[in-house]
């Protein structure tokens, strides 16, 4: 064997030695991705299978794909109304949460307020409180305000319970805004209110977008409050309305629940694509930590 051949052989061996663990890790990663994406892909596939094809097994590709399950479930569950309600709750509830959080975030990011610690402690309590602990009193409060089983009641609850997280996210964001601009404005005699509206607010827009999006998703997912505080069919959000898919009438036909849960996820998929960079990179985590 010539020395050149030996050398190249050694080189390939060396390359292999470095590539092998990485290949192995990638293989593992693919298995993980399959475990996480597989169920979703399977649901999409199931949702377009006609009922009679189910005897072919869960992984059989649809032979005669159809959108009939979508049509059926859309009409059967009144999905149009459910979606409208969920969109309404998510958009207005998050807007309320952000609105309530803006000035507190400004206050906590810019001023050495005496007793700041305690305000933070309160916020954290609101953030981690199990919903079940406040379910009964909130039910009673809403009933006495005649807000039980109304859209506005649920929106207020979502707004107030979204506020603590929003304050933390926005505060984290506002802390990163350099102080030089407002120092200059201060010398010119600007008030706190002017500094807030003219400087901080416009510069906080990216933070507001991230916070709003996270809150939107949270309200879209929310289940307990809506389940307990709402009763009338025409104001239920998707999460509660979808429960019907779990009844025997629907679960015997796999394609209907599958179609239903695909529909329920579409708005979030759109949002996910639009805001992916901002959210899944974990940039928001930094603002929660501090």
């Amino acid at each position: 064997m010539s020395s050149v051949a030996l050398l190249t052989e050694r080189r390939t061996f060396k390359r292999l030695r470095f590539a092998a663990p990485r290949l192995f890790a990638t293989l593992l990663a693919f298995i993980l991705a399959a475990i996480w994406l597989g169920p979703l892909a399977l649901m999409v596939m199931t949702s377009i299978k006609p009922n009679k094809e189910f005897l072919n097994g869960p992984f059989a590709l649809p032979i005669a794909p159809t959108f009939e399950p979508y049509q059926k479930v859309w009409e059967g569950l009144n999905f149009g109304v459910l979606m409208q309600n969920s969109v309404l709750y998510a958009t207005t509830g998050s807007a309320l949460a952000v609105l309530l959080a803006l000035v507190p975030a400004f206050a906590l990011s810019r001023f050495e307020i005496p007793g700041k610690k305690y305000v933070f402690a309160l916020l954290l309590t609101g953030l981690i409180l199990p919903q079940q602990t406040v379910l009964i009193p909130l039910y009673a409060v809403l009933r006495s305000l005649h807000l039980l089983d109304t859209r506005i009641g649920l929106i207020i609850v979502h707004g107030v319970y979204g506020m603590p997280a929003q304050i933390l996210i926005l505060r984290g964001f506002m802390t990163t805004i350099p102080r030089e601009i407002e120092k200059a404005a201060q010398i010119e005699g600007a008030t706190d209110f002017q500094i807030f509206t003219k400087i901080i607010l416009p510069l906080s827009v990216p933070g507001i977008v991230v916070g709003y999006t996270l809150n939107f998703i949270a309200i879209w997912k929310e289940f307990v409050f809506a389940l307990v505080f709402l009763n009338s069919e025409n104001i239920l959000p998707v999460t509660v309305g979808m429960l019907k898919l779990n009844s025997d009438r629907y679960i015997t036909a796999f394609n209907l629940p599958a179609a239903g849960l695909v529909i329920s996820q579409i708005p979030i998929v759109i949002l996910f694509i639009l805001t992916y960079r901002g959210i899944s990179s974990g940039n928001f985590v930094g603002s929660v930590k501090g």
Binding site: L28, P114, T133, L135, M163, E222, V285
Partner: protein, 306 residues
């Protein structure tokens, strides 16, 4: 706006100088908090000493009767045990896996990190109702995909009644919950490891540390505050588990998959025993605070000091 760093300043003096900030930045949120979060907590504790069907104008004071009933209630202990099982599964599966994936992506041990990250994070955006429905179909004993996969891999002997067997059902639920939760610890660790100076890892690398040593000796000690946040999050997530149970089992078989959060709902809104429901709520609250304080005082001592 004068920033006061060294002077000690009373709240009133501050309020006089910054009326707008005080009113809308401190007073308003604290008031809202008091009405919608503080008052309900106090009211729950108050209600736990009463018997009330939720409708009647009068509540009957029963002292500690609800509590003594709770400590003799079989379902309370089953639920409590299930919550703890849920917590253990959540710490062992999503949190550890989330850390491993985040680490693998940061040290570029895998080829398509973005695909993996997206795949694992996506279920975090799904409602647990949708997740529950999905896994009801996948784990279905007759047409389910999961059993089919197991059989195809020659693991047919593992096939079980995932929801029917009372010994397994709660773990099935906890694993489904873990599937949906993994993205969150992963993102937290991903961001956390990104904040650790790259030189730290390079130095360890040059010293000849393997991945295991790097994870245990280099990454984890630097990530104490991230771990503390993640573990706290997992704790509260586990103690308020509700949605999946409401969708998938409703506590069946024989109340064996009840958790405390679901017990509160059942007792209050189905059995109209609001007093007892409040008592179980108080138990959840006490448990959350107790475990959190315990952890912050021992394992995570000082993790939140900045």
């Amino acid at each position: 706006m004068s920033r006061i760093d060294d002077e000690r300043y009373s709240f009133l003096a501050f309020a006089r100088n910054h009326v707008f900030v005080t009113l809308f930045g401190i007073v308003a949120p604290v008031l809202l908090f008091a009405c919608f979060i503080g008052y309900p907590i106090v009211y729950t504790i108050y209600l736990s000493f009463f018997e009330w069907n939720g409708m009647a104008p009068t509540k009957t004071f029963v002292g500690l009767a609800n509590y003594s009933y709770m400590f003799g209630d079989k379902y309370f202990y089953i639920s409590l045990e299930n919550n703890l099982k849920w917590l253990v599964v959540s710490l062992a599966f999503p949190v550890v896996l989330g850390f491993l994936i985040a680490y693998a992506m940061r040290v570029r041990a895998v080829y398509f990190p973005t695909l993996l990250r997206t795949a694992i994070f996506f279920p975090v955006t799904m409602s647990l109702v949708a997740v529950g429905l999905m896994f009801l179909l996948i784990l279905n004993p007759i047409f389910g995909a999961f059993d089919t996969v197991l059989r195809a891999l020659g693991l047919g002997f593992l096939v079980s009644e995932w929801f029917g067997d009372y010994r397994i059902a709660i773990y099935t639920l906890a694993f489904v919950g873990g599937w949906a939760f993994t993205g969150l610890p992963m993102i937290f660790y991903f961001a956390g490891i990104g904040d650790v100076p790259k030189e730290t890892f390079d130095a360890a690398r040059i010293e000849g540390a393997g991945h295991l040593r790097m994870m245990l000796r280099v990454a984890l000690p630097q990530l104490r505050s991230v771990t503390a946040v993640v573990v706290m999050l997992t704790l509260f997530e586990s103690l308020k588990a509700f949605d999946l149970i409401a969708v998938m089992t409703k506590g069946a078989p024989f109340g064996r998959t009840n958790v405390l959060g679901y017990l509160v709902y059942l007792e209050s809104f189905w059995n109209s025993r609001f007093g007892y429901g409040a008592t179980v709520s108080v138990a959840i609250l006490v448990l959350s605070i107790a475990i959190a304080t315990l952890m912050l005082g021992t394992v995570f001592r000082g993790a939140f000091d900045v």
